[in-house]
Subunit: 151 residues, 2 copies
DNA sequence: TCTTGACCTAAAGTTAGGTTTAGAAATTAC
DNA sequence: GTAATTTCTAAACCTAACTTTAGGTCAAGA
């Protein structure tokens, strides 16, 4: 009954809205590290509610789980994170989000130009420098909408 | 050799930068419909280069393949699409993109507020009304960063 | 105590968007 | 005419982020 007994996984699930299976999965991905009670069941700190909420927010921002793990590694390991700790690692998120907004805005403006001329041929298209998450799998520059350089 | 013989799948792949396997996959998803030559091989119209380029652009915008299929269904089926046709279906893309940018911007501003107060507790967080693509899989509202309504 | 609900692990299944493989047939190049 | 290249189909495989299932254990309450 003491606070030190920690939260069971079901309680943590109810507090975060996550599925129990998702929380176990996050543990397997190194995002959260519970301890075990005498019977071998997972027990969590109250601060882990905040930690999982952060994971959910970062996911909304488009970070992958490995990326989130990286960001979380910026938290102190030897004590419960303070509001200031959370604030500091959130700065990186803000930068990530700014970049995503910027990419999409460039993409939109490019489409506007193409709609404007009515041809949709984009030799200067933002797709040549696409979003970080997409691409890098293609082979060299692509000539879009049917316009090759040699005609 | 006549134009009417169409493009083989390899030629289309070179013109679009897509893998041959991807083009076949898009056909299976109903995004493109080649005809077959006497030997059973796929043959494509030159206009299909443009069609596939549109698919790639729409993907950059975050549309799923079923969504793209839906958008493409706005093209005339009985003739080669004109620049005006492409312009018309692009308007929907523009709206989609605007909405995504708007969502991300709200998310960012919300994070700013939370960084500002240093607590990262977001009862009014944009995550309650998240991006269209994410969520809808959760069960009811989530109380983020450890703050439940009842305390 | 007994029973019910919560929890455990490991493995398989799921969706999206493809790629890879295998073996055969068509096409192209010389 | 033959060799090399492309293309064909079907099915298996891949990653991310989880969920589901199966069979068994732990914890809490009447």
């Amino acid at each position: 009954m003491a606070v030190s007994e920690g939260l069971a996984i079901g309680a943590l699930a109810r507090r975060t809205g996550l599925a129990v299976s998702a929380i176990r999965y996050y543990e397997a991905q190194g995002l959260i590290t519970p301890w075990r009670n005498a019977g071998g069941q997972r027990r969590y700190q109250r601060a882990d509610i905040r930690r999982l909420s952060f994971v959910m927010i970062a996911q909304q921002f488009g970070l992958s789980l490995p990326e989130i793990r990286q960001v979380l590694s910026g938290l102190p390991g030897n004590r419960t994170p303070t509001p200031q700790d959370w604030k500091e690692i959130s700065v990186g998120l803000r930068a990530h989000l700014d970049q995503r907004i910027d990419t999409l805005t460039r993409l939109r403006d490019n489409l506007d130009g193409c709609i404007g001329c009515g041809c949709l041929s984009l030799p200067k298209c933002a797709l040549y420098n696409p979003d970080d998450r997409a691409k890098s799998k293609g082979s060299g520059p692509r000539y879009l909408m049917g316009d090759t350089p040699e005609g």
